[in-house]
């Protein structure tokens, strides 16, 4: 749904990197470079950003706005 706030495995806070990660990816940077720049060393934290699919963006278009 949304980017998890913490790494499932180790509990490190990772959500605040997500916007920078997306911007970096759109700018054509390597995922590994970006993750290294965030100082995410463990593969458990790295997979959180790499494998995430922001499904909520699709759901939002079907949610009814309030009058």
């Amino acid at each position: 749904m949304m980017i998890p706030i913490r790494c499932y495995t180790c509990g490190k806070v990772i959500a605040h990197y997500y916007d920078d990660f997306l911007d970096g990816m759109k700018a054509g940077k390597e995922a590994s470079e970006l993750l290294d720049s965030f100082d995410l060393k463990r593969y458990c934290c790295r997979r959180m950003l790499i494998t995430h699919v922001e499904l909520i963006d699709d759901i939002l278009t079907f949610s009814s706005p309030v009058r």
Partner: protein, 266 residues
Amino acid sequence: MELEIIEQHENYVKFVLSGITPTFANTLRRLIMSEVPTMAIDEVIIIENTTPLYDEIVAHRLGLLPLKTDLASYVLPTECECGGQGCTSCEVSLTLEVLGEKDIEIVYSNSLLSQDPKIGPVFLNIPILKMAKNQKIFLEAIARLGRGMEHAKWQPTSTVSYKYYPVVKFNEKNCTYCGECVEVCPRDIIKIENGKIYAENVINCSLCNQCVDICETDAVFVSTTGTDFIFTVESTGALSTKDILLKALKILNEKANEFKVNVEEF
């Protein structure tokens, strides 16, 4: 007992603690993980939520936000004078009120307004939820002190770990200088130079013993000192690494004193 800091950044510290027992190292780890209290959102009163995310999801996400903690002015609800009912010395109220103005509105943790300026989200750019135009979220969150043994959101650290200080030795009489141990070492700590074999940055050794296994002439020995430990403490930002360690030791001291009082009554 000696302490040497190897690496220290904000919210991260790596140090060598020498002259202790493995038991003491583990006690310190356990204290940090499960006994040091931190602040986290524990109760969420949802007044209005018309976003596509369920109340429970929002509450769960809020709970996981690390909050800056002031251990001097707050106490655990169980130890509070109010008896855990909730008062200004054991609770902080935070409010979140956002109305969607854009087609996709992202609510970040900086929208969470705290009653006490000393308590608040550590990171201000964590996305809490997303909403469409004209949708609304209005809630009150109550943060309390708690311990990691009850819920992981109250852990002051994401990881605390220790490993034995490695000792890598070579028997130069047996060594054929074939270089196989140099090649197999995943941490690249073994070097052969000018007909001499030696290990550098031994602290990086992961004690995997691959060099010992591959050596046909039994010239490599990997062991540990047994009394020296390399600690890594990684804080979530709620408390500084120094405060975490000091609080852990204070808790141990209190436990020991309390036990002594009990024993003296026997």
